[in-house]
């Protein structure tokens, strides 16, 4: 079992990236009020006894059936909002708190959030795909607005007036005529809310217009901030239970290796160490990590393995191409062949992106505890209800016997969709009869988590005599179809995603395939602009109908002073730009890059990004997300690349897998465009997609050659070697 890692089916990712989550747990909350009050802890008296079983959700879509399933109000006016979302730093705790506070018309510090506890919260789907903003903010707002209407109605009945004459502000309902007022807390004493909150959340309830937003739209700070700076925030790695042991699991030496034999006898004699073998699963638990590590190392020395052959990262792109499923290339091709034959110029290039790792600062961690055949798992994962189902199946118990809790965790970036650590902890805890904590090492995380897929992307385009694109073919092999379609005006484009046989386990990553597809497309567009003898900005604008992309392009270009800069390219300094759209938001990036062709080095000096995702819900957090995306994007653009051979990761350490550090941070200039005409879109991912192509285009502007692979520094070094041989 340890050799078999659960890989995420790429088709799942595609659906996830495109639209609705594919996961449909049929789950109901089964908990009574007493438990609920206890779980909330001292200080909160929950008035509502609502039947929580009514909180069951429609297919993880985030729509709570009843108000009670979504929120509770205590007699002292404290509002508790429940959501299945997990916070991994992206800020959904704050954002959903704002959503509730806005519609209930209370100050943000009157709202508490309960996140990601399968016993308490509705199923809001997986935290992924920038879906919180479009999918989860609206239902929370609707529930809060419904609750506000219910409370207003109670006041109206109390005063025997029409609710229309009442005003709600700061959690106080006021009769404008008589100046009488009642707080939410007082209203809960007038009428028991348990009946009223059984009401279904109305999706027609009027929500506060953007122009009237008071809490949404402002930089409400994270409620966890003080705990974070004092070290008292509890991450999944920090969970401690009475009598808890620390676990370690025997890892295979290479991918696909299976255990032939192992001698556990010595370790079984070690004091305080519990050893478990169940088929391929071998693990230990001990009172300290030190002891557990000693035990597992001793076991590893006795283990012998059957290994299998495994391709190397050196030949990966050919391997992916050779193993590509054919798709509908033939049919698609015939549709464009005519256009290509009439083109004035035809360009054809291939782009590559490497496998990379998320490397969240906190590696996977989980604590599992069994009580009378029921399992509780605290874990750093992205979808509590899904892991609940996985654990139930793994241990052959019903979902009701599994409770999964996700403490706000130390990063994810799409990398924590699987629950291996929780399952390992549960296996060990079951055998030990005590709670067990599993914390993956950094090498585990680099090796046994899944990766952002590598991609081979073939592009072909034809220009007419006016320098307009008249034919377009675009094929992504292996990494997915997000942002596959060109936003440019091109007749009959042929765009396809073709799956392949990935040798590494692959899965979601911040803007996964969109980064690869946008890299290829935006570099290729730049090549076409050059072939047409046009300025890269003008060429893009000429082919764009999407006004939102045009606006961010104009914004970035203006603040970057593209007009002047584009004339200042030298051999050492280049200026490049790129744009894109994905997940409902739009982005444009201009960069200044220092290039040393001889040494093969690149220094990104300045990044100017304009980003628009509809009405901004939390400007401070949005800025952090955009800055984070830009810098994270530099990692994948320049250096990050998983190397592997014979089924082993060759750079499973921060010493040889280079993530961005303080020294890599360029001057960053972010312009957030607040578009209040449309609904808000998610923003934690798309700001990453235009960084790499802008850099590649800037390298071309300086050095006159194209770097068509991510990461770019290895390609630069290759190029430097080549020219040093020539000169």
């Amino acid at each position: 079992m340890s050799a078999k890692i659960k890989s995420i089916n790429i088709n799942e990712i595609i659906e996830l990236e495109n639209e609705e989550s594919v996961f449909k747990p049929d789950w109901e909350v089964q908990i009574d009020r007493r438990t609920f009050v206890q779980l909330l802890g001292a200080g909160i008296l929950v008035v509502v006894t609502g039947d929580f079983a009514e909180g069951q959700m429609r297919r993880g879509g985030g729509q709570a059936a009843t108000v009670a399933a979504r929120l509770q109000i205590s007699q002292d006016g404290v509002i508790t909002v429940m959501t299945g979302k997990v916070d991994e730093g992206q800020g959904c705790r704050t954002q959903l708190l704002q959503a509730a506070a806005e519609e209930l018309r209370v100050s943000p510090n009157q709202v508490r959030m309960i996140l990601a506890d399968t016993s308490l919260v509705p199923d809001d789907g997986m935290t992924a795909g920038s879906r919180t903003t479009p999918n989860n903010v609206p239902p929370v707002r609707q529930a809060a607005a419904t609750a506000r209407d219910i409370l207003t109605q109670i006041a109206a009945e109390q005063w025997k007036v029409d609710a229309k004459n009442l005003q709600v502000q700061n959690g106080i309902v006021t009769n404008t005529a008589t100046k009488e007022s009642l707080t939410y807390g007082e209203l809960t004493k007038i009428k028991n809310l348990s009946e009223s909150f059984k009401q279904t959340v109305s999706s027609n309830v009027t929500l506060t217009a953007v122009s009237n937003w008071k809490v949404l739209g402002s930089s409400v700070p994270k409620p966890t901030g003080r705990d974070i700076v004092t070290g008292s925030h509890i991450y999944p790695s920090d969970i401690m239970r009475p009598n808890m042991l620390y676990g370690k699991v025997l890892r295979p030496p290479s991918y696909g290796a299976t255990l032939k034999s192992v001698d556990l006898s010595k370790v079984k004699e070690m004091k305080d160490v519990i050893v478990v073998q169940e088929g391929q699963f071998v693990g230990v638990a001990a009172p300290t990590t030190f002891l557990a590590s000693q035990a597992i190392d001793a076991i590893a020395k006795t283990a012998s393995w059957n290994t299998v052959s495994h391709p190397s990262s050196k030949e990966i792109y050919q391997y992916l191409r050779d193993n590509a499923r054919s798709g509908q290339r033939g049919n698609a091709r015939s549709r464009t062949s005519n256009a290509f034959s009439q083109a004035n110029k035809v360009l054809s290039e291939t782009y590559y992106t490497a496998y990379i790792q998320h490397t969240p600062m906190e590696p996977r961690a989980a604590v599992a505890e069994w009580n009378n055949g029921s399992l509780t798992a605290w874990a750093g994962i992205d979808y509590p209800q899904r892991i609940q189902g996985d654990l139930a199946r793994a241990f052959n118990i019903s979902n009701e016997r599994v409770r999964v809790i996700v403490p706000d965790m130390g990063g994810g970036f799409g990398g924590k969709h699987t629950g291996q650590a929780a399952e390992e902890a549960a296996r060990l805890a079951k055998a030990a009869g005590r709670p067990v904590s599993i914390r993956w090492t950094r090498a585990d995380e680099f090796t046994w988590a899944y990766f952002r897929p590598a991609a081979v992307i073939d592009c072909r385009a034809g220009l007419d005599e006016n320098g307009s694109i008249m034919a377009w073919e675009f094929t992504n092999i292996n990494s997915g179809n997000a942002a596959l379609n060109t936003p440019y005006r091109i007749p009959n484009p042929v765009e396809q995603y073709v799956s392949s046989d990935s040798p590494l386990s692959q899965g979601p990553y911040r803007c996964l395939a969109a980064t690869a597809n946008n890299f290829a497309r935006e570099c290729f567009i730049d090549e076409l602009a050059a072939a047409a003898g046009a300025d890269p900005l003008e060429f893009r604008l000429k082919h764009l109908d999407n006004q939102r992309i045009k606006t961010v392009l104009d914004t970035a270009a203006k603040h970057f002073d593209w007009e002047t800069k584009r004339k200042k390219n030298t051999r050492e300094t280049g200026f490049g730009l790129a744009c894109g759209t994905e997940k409902g938001s739009v982005v444009a990036v201009c960069v200044e890059v220092g290039v040393n062709v001889k040494n093969g080095t690149i220094e990104v000096k300045r990044v100017c990004e304009a980003f628009e995702c509809g009405p901004i819900q939390n400007p401070g957090n949005l800025l952090a997300q955009v800055q984070g995306c830009i810098i994270m994007g530099l990692g994948g653009a320049l250096r990050e690349e998983i190397k592997f051979e014979n089924g082993k990761i060759l750079n499973a350490s921060f010493s040889n897998y280079y993530v961005p550090k303080f020294k890599d941070v360029p001057e960053i200039d972010v312009h957030l465009v607040n578009n209040t005409e449309i609904a808000s879109a998610g923003a934690g991912e798309t700001p990453i997609i235009a960084v790499a192509p802008a850099i590649s285009n800037a390298i071309f502007a300086a050095a006159g050659f194209r770097v068509r692979s991510m990461p770019m520094i290895p390609a630069m070094i290759e190029h430097a070697k080549k020219i040093s041989v020539i000169t």
């Binding site: 700076v229 004092t230 030190f290 800055q627």
Partner: protein, 158 residues
């Protein structure tokens, strides 16, 4: 072989009987329940586990507990004076210089050490000093702003 080790953690004397080969990071977390010091790599390469040993920043994952006998250790839990945050903590909070916050304790302690050594650091000094601390949320710009703000707060404090 277990050994009795005496050390001072956040101004409190601690007597620990344990294998001296265990890391300081592990003992802080597992024995003293001070989980604010975080595990990020166990190789001295990320800074998540930074603590002050006799005032100097150290990667607690690279220090054996046997090596810190009689030493003064400051962890993130020991920085605030009661309810009053240390100015560096306050500055990180004011700037919201964290996303997931997992790197934050290490960042704060390393910044405390930086500002003890250079009360008015240049940008180059900040970057050079902090470069061993990785933030995978890539919140570096706000962290740098927080350190600059801390410089001011420390002065105001005096």
């Amino acid at each position: 072989m277990n050994k009795e080790i005496l050390l001072f953690v956040n101004d409190r004397e601690q007597k620990i009987v344990t294998d001296p080969q265990r890391t300081l990071l592990e003992v802080l977390r597992e024995d003293l329940k001070l989980t604010g010091t975080n595990f990020g790599c166990n190789e001295g390469l990320c800074g998540a586990c930074t603590v002050l040993i006799d005032g100097e920043p150290n990667h607690s994952c690279m220090v054996r507990i046997g090596e810190v006998e009689y030493k003064w250790i400051t962890t993130i839990e020991g920085l605030a004076k009661g309810e009053k945050l240390h100015p560096v903590q306050q500055a990180f909070l004011d700037e919201e210089a964290f996303q997931c916050g997992y790197c934050t304790p290490g960042m704060i302690l390393n910044a405390v050490a930086l500002l003890q050594k250079y009360p008015n650091p240049t940008d180059e000094q900040i970057i050079e000093w902090m470069n061993g601390n990785i933030c995978r949320c890539n919140g570096y710009p706000k962290i740098i702003s927080a350190i600059r703000r801390a410089v001011k707060l420390i002065k105001e404090d005096k």
